[in-house]
Symmetry: C2
Subunit: 254 residues, 2 copies
Amino acid sequence: MSDRKPLILITNDDGYQAKGIAELINAMKGLGELVVFAPDSHRSGMSSAITTAHPLRARIYHKEENLTAYMCNGTPVDCVKLALNEFLERKPDLLVSGVNHGSNAGISVLYSGTVAAALEGCVSNIPSIAFSLCDFTPDADFTYTARIAEKLARKVLSDGLPKGICLNVNVPVGEVKGIRMTTQTQGKWVNEYQRSQDGIGRDVFWMTGNFENWEEDNVNNDEWALANGYAAVVPVKIDMTAHDLIPELKEWEL
Amino acid sequence: MSDRKPLILITNDDGYQAKGIAELINAMKGLGELVVFAPDSHRSGMSSAITTAHPLRARIYHKEENLTAYMCNGTPVDCVKLALNEFLERKPDLLVSGVNHGSNAGISVLYSGTVAAALEGCVSNIPSIAFSLCDFTPDADFTYTARIAEKLARKVLSDGLPKGICLNVNVPVGEVKGIRMTTQTQGKWVNEYQRSQDGIGRDVFWMTGNFENWEEDNVNNDEWALANGYAAVVPVKIDMTAHDLIPELKEWEL
């Protein structure tokens, strides 16, 4: 296999036309053979959602040397699963997801389609990294993010990642001071809806909100790093078991 | 507050008309004041997906003493968020989700809307439990599951759960030998698509598949418990950080 270039699977949740995935594709071009398998439209906030009630479709929208790009009518996790099960001829050496337009730090790891795609790679034992820039505008500047993505991709291609763990990388706007290895900031979104009315006066609710940080003084988490000009890397596990609690639960009288 | 009954928020991912949620409502009736806030149709496999691109709506479909039931056009997590942000007059003392028609053991914790609803309760510091029966038929027999749900709900209402941890409870078909506290079985779904054709001969892919268990010999995980006639309780964390890996990541030269 040493004569073959590494195979890199690329996806996102903003859809195949987003600037973020174009920049990520460019950043990966020197590293191997690329297959893009991305949603055919915006699929933000889809978490690890999978499509069971209707069929998936995929088609090639671009092809050049060392790059084949598909669009698919599924979620980010559908894209990863369908690519691995039905479209790729060999197992990828790396999966990269993003670059997301907007932060996926803190509790957003639960809701993000970008991170979910990396978790899905991880489920299939593929070293996987999710990238997000803390700027949700369509024409965001990905200059520093692309450099960081290339650097981390090279490292992970060379050294791998432990089984069951992927990386969630968030990058602040503007010049980046460096890269910090951090924890997922504990906190939650608050004031999550804006009440409005439809055309005939019925209440409707639009998602909005702001993040309430429960660890303002913690200098080791991703929100602190981002607020202080550092890119934040959180290792994220697919085993969600709270192992420490099991001995206590076993004492329960039921 | 001691003169008020406990407030219990109930949701699911199979939709408000599913037998599983009706049985869960019945099981909770002796325990407090109930508010149901459930999807208006099937939302299986939605994980922690949230709706940002279109507005949410909710309306009461049933009301009786100590029970108000809403249906909502969102995902399970939307239902929990909208109920907590806009519809409930006080914070629930307990959130229960399900009973799901079908297993949510092992890696399904990542994809399940039922479990995601409990995780969302957990994000808001509400003791939360997801219940699933390993039978996906619409008329499944929830007799034992209802008893287990009542027992666990009473325990959690009385003693609470640690911050950031909810319970994922799966129940086998038939008579249940007891309740085991377990870990999330490591493994993955394989053979995930059935290729078919649409009416004009284009390839489409339907999700299917079977679970590949990587821990066949582990007697402490949820798949073992279920296969041996026990209900399986997994404590699930919202902090997905792989804390143990951070020291090693800090040594990376980038």
